[in-house]
Symmetry: C2
Subunit: 206 residues, 2 copies
């Protein structure tokens, strides 16, 4: 038969969907096999256990999430402009992966094993980000461009408001019976508002 590579890949993709949809506990290996269009035994042939299959998917998702915290630096913008761009870029990332943060946060809260996989990756990403933003920020403060603030606090605020937008959005959609268009409008509005909040936090006041 020798269609091996293909089957393995099909299972992995199906697992990704199933795990993201339902989380580890509610996801069923039988359903993953069904989604992949292969027999259930194949899943265990290639990945041995549900846990090992999940781990592979989970590591990939954690890496993706961690990377989104690390900013890119292109040229020399004014600090306020850079923060606005970073906040917007992070927002767009979460918009493209709206389930990702809740998925990772929920799995690490329920299972020590997944926590141990996730935390070191997150720590490295966070530390790198804190360090690089810190130097930008302190120079901007020295130049008198912005008001002093702890880097960590600035980052938490950005991340919190962006992530929560996509936790709240489906709730609002259901509560008010929004259409997809209403939802898009809400998201666009929140993007602007989140950036506005961050900029106002940094601007010097009278």
């Amino acid at each position: 038969m020798r269609k091996g590579d293909n089957t393995e890949h099909l299972i992995l993709k199906a697992a990704e969907e199933e795990f993201m949809d339902k989380g580890f506990v509610l996801a069923k290996t039988t359903d993953i096999a069904r989604r992949a269009g292969v027999t259930h035994a194949m899943l265990h042939y290639y990945f041995r256990t549900k846990e090992k299959l999940f781990e592979q998917v989970f590591r990939e998702k954690v890496t993706l999430l961690a990377r989104s915290l690390v900013p890119t630096f292109d040229g020399e913008k004014p600090f306020l402009q850079w923060v606005a761009d970073f906040t917007g870029a992070h927002f767009d990332f979460v918009a493209a992966h709206p389930q990702l943060p809740s998925f990772v946060l929920h799995e690490i809260s329920q299972n020590e094993c997944w926590r141990n996989i996730c935390l070191p990756v997150m720590r490295d990403a966070l530390q790198a980000t804190v360090r690089s933003v810190e130097s930008l920020l302190s120079r901007a403060v020295e130049r008198g461009e912005v008001t002093p603030v702890r880097v960590e606090n600035l980052l938490y605020s950005i991340i919190s408001m962006n992530i929560m937008t996509f936790v709240i959005a489906p709730v609002m959609k259901a509560v008010y019976g929004w259409t997809e268009e209403d939802l898009r409008l809400f998201v666009r509005q929140r993007r602007k508002e989140n950036i506005e909040m961050i900029i106002r936090r940094l601007k010097k006041q009278a």
Copy 2:
């Protein structure tokens, strides 16, 4: 025997702990019975099914969460002062129930039945809040005390930052190996910062 009322109450309290700890899916009726110190059959005698038992706990939690969104009005403060107090009060509520928002948000994301229980309650609370804050806000805008902003956006920002503080906190604790004291410091700092962010969003700028 006739210790009836007591047993029922013991089961309910044990269920509350178990469900809050593990969520509906991972919670086991056998473990709830164990926690309550009664035989497993008792649980089904009093509540019939795991779902019905959960529903009772869940309704209570949803009501609690919904109430926290509705502000109280004491006397006539300046609007900025009122917003700062409301944000602080909401923060303190979430601090006293740190698992509550994630618990409710997660359950409604996984089960339509729980969603249908939760959403109407949330809608009523939210609508009442939006209406009452709206009138305060518009008057403050007219008096020139604050910059214009959509009430909904203001509320989402407050709720988002407060809730996320207690989602992020345990992650930070694990990532950096914080002590309980470190954690308390972080929480205190975030409380101040969240209020600061909201106030700066509202203050007029040069």
